[in-house]
């Protein structure tokens, strides 16, 4: 049997073929998987970025018109209150969609094995499903933020908090999306989580109104909702509206960590992915 590569190649300095060696982290694999997430989430930007931007613009328009017909010029501060909520909501929704939809699509088209077979560890895959959707979400959030400048003059009040809650919020929804994507067998389940869980949790927890206006009991219940802290913290970063920043940061960070571990364990054990 002839040795491979042939002697001429060996003389040229090409050694025998062997598996590629990776260091502690397979950066190539991690990059490829993250890039795939981003391309999947933003490729058809007409629909995938413009869609959320248009719907947020619509919300702002109807609030603007409703306020202008109702109480004269006093509505400016309400728009400045709503705009940050809409920005972070659009970013989070996109992050959820980017991870959950790609996973379910991959499962349905049976190309999920390409990811499972590749020399990428569970940790690297979890990381890719963190970073990719977060970048998609942040891109949409940025687009919505630029558009909402038309309605409300937004000037970052606390840039550090702004960035932290934007990143942590999109990561949280990206990880929730990953869990849903692994668990769901049908598109119905994906849509149901969105309609019956994430939408109410966000809309009822201060995207559009101050929870201080609610009864005491409702306020207590909402404080158990981690998405409330994402919205509240992000709004603090943008407008400086009062909040317990320390509590918000720790709640969001802990939830992100727990979700990351959960995703890592599911990827590690191959729950619902490997036969």
């Amino acid at each position: 049997m002839k040795p491979f590569p042939p002697s001429s190649a060996r003389q040229a300095g090409i050694g025998p073929l062997q598996p590629r060696r990776f260091g502690l982290v397979n950066w190539i694999g991690l990059g490829a998987l993250t890039g795939r997430q981003i391309r999947g989430g933003l490729a058809d930007y007409h629909y995938q970025v413009l869609g959320p931007v248009v719907s947020c613009l619509l919300y702002l328009t109807i609030f603007h018109l409703a306020i202008s017909t109702m109480r004269g010029n006093a509505g400016g501060d309400l728009l400045a209150f709503i705009a940050p909520g809409l920005i972070i909501y659009a970013a989070c929704e996109k992050a959820y969609e980017a991870s959950a939809a790609t996973l379910i699509l991959d499962k349905h088209e049976r190309v999920i094995f390409d990811q499972l077979m590749a020399p990428v560890t569970a940790f690297e895959r979890s990381l890719a499903y963190c970073i990719g959707p977060a970048i998609c979400g942040l891109a949409v959030g940025l687009a919505v933020a630029v558009m909402s400048l038309v309605f409300a003059p937004l000037r970052p009040h606390d840039p550090l908090a702004l960035i932290f809650f934007a990143v942590a919020g999109t990561i949280m929804h990206g990880l929730i999306g990953t869990l849903v994507g692994v668990w769901a067998q049908k598109w119905d389940q994906y849509a149901a989580i969105m309609t019956f869980m994430l939408l109410p949790l966000s809309f009822l927890s201060g995207v559009f109104y101050r929870i201080a206006d609610l009864p005491e009991l409702a306020q207590q219940v909402i404080r158990f909702n981690p998405i409330f802290y994402v919205i509240d913290g992000f709004r603090h970063g943008l407008t400086g509206e009062g909040t317990d920043l320390g509590l918000a940061v720790s709640v969001v960070a802990i939830v992100d960590l727990v979700l990351f571990l959960w995703v890592y364990i599911w990827f590690r054990t191959g729950y619902r992915l490997k036969p």
Binding site: S55, I62, I82, D188, F208
Partner: protein
């Protein structure tokens, strides 16, 4: 001798739909005319000759239809209705929950700063508009997704091949969308009734506008479903046409106090008349002209009905 002849009839019956292999005279005829031709032909040895000579068997012949194929229409309608009832959580419960969320959000965000809109508390002003929004969006979603999915999956032939005339096809699918719209409207209205003391001033007026608006959107949905080639096209129509029109229609605010420019925008929007008329049925107050609304709804429904009928008759983007 007879059996080969009957099998050749069967072949013609199958290939007639495609038009390529059938005799020239048959290729240009619709299925119904073809079947009727077979039915009426009385010449010995003609198309209607029984395949078996046993006199005790009933004469095999295509089913005869009157002017309107009620069986086919009923089947198509039942299929359209079962399609959305099978996934009722997504098609009825989800719009209900979303609409209730909208109600809660708008009342909590704006309610405390508003006293009265159109002589009514804000929440009573809001309720009819939200119900109408849910109805129209779901009527549109039902017909558009039905045709779209059928086209993508390739089972649209099941709609085109049976002996259904374009009129029966049009009304059958549209009635499915209308039913979904009314079902969602009823469910949403009942759910809101738990929280809000809804009163209906003119029930027939509300019903008329509910039916006309759902039908209108069902027909628009059919046009979109026939036109769209990809799910992205459909998402674009929903995101960039239907949702903006329904949001900017005066559901959330009274157009009476808008600036002249926005008022003009609102009053050229057909959705405004649906919601305004429907709201009049509930609270007895309208922002615009009711007669103009009824006329616009009737005329646009008629125009769209003819348009969709033409699409089915010509097979625009449906038949090769």
């Amino acid at each position: 001798m007879l059996i080969p002849k009957s099998s050749s009839v069967a072949c013609q019956g199958l290939s007639g739909g495609w038009g390529s292999h059938a005799p020239a005279g048959l290729a240009s005829q619709s299925h119904r005319q073809y079947f009727l031709a077979m039915q009426n032909s009385t010449q010995p040895g003609g198309l209607s000759s029984a395949p078996f000579s046993n006199p005790t068997l009933p004469r095999l012949a295509p089913r005869a239809y009157g002017g309107f194929n009620w069986i086919g229409f009923g089947t198509l309608y039942a299929k359209e209705v079962r399609r959305f009832i099978a996934v009722g959580t997504q098609t009825i419960l989800a719009p209900m929950v979303t609409t209730l969320l909208f109600l809660a959000v708008f009342v909590l965000a704006l309610g405390h700063s508003v006293d009265q809109v159109g002589g009514q508390p804000y929440i009573l002003f809001l309720v009819p508009g939200l119900i109408m929004m849910a109805m129209t969006q779901n009527a549109f979603a039902n017909t558009s997704s039905s045709l779209m999915i059928a086209k993508v999956q390739g089972n649209i032939v099941d709609l085109l091949m049976p002996p259904l005339s374009p009129l029966e096809q049009t009304i059958g699918v549209a009635a499915g969308g209308l039913t979904r719209g009314l079902a969602v409207g009823l469910a949403t209205g009942l759910a809101m009734w738990i929280f809000v003391p809804i009163t209906i001033a003119h029930p027939l007026f509300a019903l008329f506008h509910g039916v006309m608006a759902s039908l209108l959107l069902a027909l628009i949905g059919m046009l979109a479903g026939i036109w769209a080639e990809k799910f992205d096209h459909m998402a674009a129509v929903t995101n960039f046409v239907i949702t903006p029109l329904s949001f900017l229609s005066g559901t959330f605010y009274s157009t009476e106090r808008l600036s002249p420019a926005w008022k003009a925008v609102a009053h050229v929007n057909p959705f405004f008349y649906m919601i305004d008329g429907f709201r009049y049925g509930f609270i007895g107050h309208a922002d615009g002209s009711l007669a103009a609304g009824i006329a616009i709804l009737c005329v646009s429904n008629l125009v769209l009905l003819v348009l969709v009928h033409r699409c089915f008759a010509r097979g625009y983007k449906l038949k090769a």
